[in-house]
Amino acid sequence: MGESPENQALRIFEPDPDAVYSIEFTERLTQIPRRTIAVYVKHRLVSPLVEQGGGMFFDEEAIRMLRRIEQLRTSYGVNLPGIKMIVQLLDELEQRQIELRFRRG
């Protein structure tokens, strides 16, 4: 990072709802072995977009979820049923918060 901030044009990042990654790339991005990712998918902790040919593709939200699951498992020692419950609780909580925010106006 030798360039001074003024010299380099600032990079622009934006959300790309269409960005999907193959399982190979996902493995590289998350550093989670393919087989483990498949286990998470089987337990419905994360949903991939499944192509006709059977290939699995993951969007950025799924990438984030995978990393979170992996940390819960490896750093905090939570087992799979535990992770599943935590994820469900968080989802439910978020839904309710959205609803409450709307009602509260």
């Binding site: 600032l10 622009i12 990042f13 934006e14 940390q71 959205i98 709307f102 509260r104 106006g105």
Partner: protein, 326 residues
């Protein structure tokens, strides 16, 4: 560098025991005043508007407000002593490593807010994959993912925007500060909660591992007029009783300026009038959601003698009985 405490009550100009309704009214009044579209000094108004919004995020949500009230001025000591909050307030590295301090600039949320209420505090300050088991020495590990929030106004969602963001990191062990600056594009129609991934702007990798990513979650700013549900906007429209009974045309705000809304005769309290295509952008073909006017019939508190006579006459003439089924 300790994070600055924010006095949200002072920002909204309400006492500590203000009711929810008072907080909401204070927010609406200030938000209308400092809304970037109407304010004269737009730059100053923008900063103030974001501050007001953050204060309302906290004081307008009973759970957040309760947490905030419990803190007091020694908040960083109190919060540390209390440990992780109920539920899922686990923060920091499970290995006990001190966290890198980081500060955002340009997201619209203060560090104070992020530490207490942001995604960081809720799901732990950072996520690292690659295994950080206690007792083992990591040789190479990918850096942490950092999560933050970015506040966007509905106007920015309408037209899109490019926001400059800077992320300053302070290494607690060396005191060294590094700053990364970049821009984030808010595409028109971006949904609330959408994540913006900024690759390799997260925590540093260990032992040559690659850096983590930065995720910024889009957070719609509360609007002084509208509530948002998906791509639809809801505007609470106050009407006089006779306007609801007889119907009328009203001038209402929208993201495109003022519009005329036709209110049909006989519309009930809580019913909605839909104005198509005046909501937020959605979909690939520049479609838009709808604007709903939610009828809120108001009752006059004081009436003149003549008005009272007319109401009494109406009472004797009318066959309307709202409690007929009871």
């Amino acid at each position: 560098m300790p994070t600055q405490f924010k006095d949200y009550y002072a920002i909204l100009g309400v006492p500590r025991n203000a009711s929810e309704e008072d907080v909401k009214k204070a927010f609406r009044k200030l938000a209308r005043q400092y809304h970037p579209d109407v304010a004269k000094d737009k730059k100053a108004a923008e900063e103030k508007f974001k501050e007001i919004n953050e204060a309302y995020e906290v004081l307008g949500d009973p759970a957040n407000r309760q947490k905030y009230d419990r803190l007091g001025m020694d908040w960083d000591k109190t919060a540390a002593a209390a440990g992780p909050g109920p539920g899922y307030g686990f923060g920091g590295d499970s290995n006990g490593e001190p966290d890198v301090e980081f500060h955002f600039d340009g997201t619209g949320f203060s560090d104070f807010f992020e530490e207490l209420f942001g995604r960081r505090s809720r799901y732990g300050s950072s996520f690292r994959s690659g295994g950080a088991r206690t007792g083992t020495q990591e040789r190479t590990a990918r850096g942490y993912d950092i999560e933050g929030d970015i506040l966007v106004t509905l106007e920015e969602v309408m037209r899109g925007a490019i926001r400059p963001i800077s992320l300053q990191r302070v290494d607690p062990r060396t005191g060294e500060t590094t700053t990364q600056t970049f821009k984030v594009r808010i595409p028109p129609g971006v949904q609330d909660g959408r994540m913006i991934r900024v690759p390799a702007h997260g925590g540093e990798g260990v032992g040559g591992g690659s850096p983590g990513d930065l995720y910024l979650r889009v957070h719609y700013a509360a609007h002084p007029y509208f509530r948002v549900s998906g791509a639809d906007l809801y505007y609470d429209l106050d009407l006089a009783p006779w306007e609801a009974v007889l119907g009328t045309t009203v001038s209402v705000p929208s993201l495109d300026g003022r519009l005329n809304g036709k209110i049909p005769a006989g519309i009930d309290n809580g019913e909605k009038v839909r104005i198509r295509g005046r909501g937020l952008p959605q979909g690939p073909k520049a479609e838009r959601g709808d604007l709903y006017l939610v009828v809120n019939v108001r009752i006059p508190k004081k009436v003149t003698d003549q008005e009272r006579r007319l109401w009494e006459e109406l009472r004797s003439v009318s066959s309307f009985d709202p409690r007929k089924e009871d």
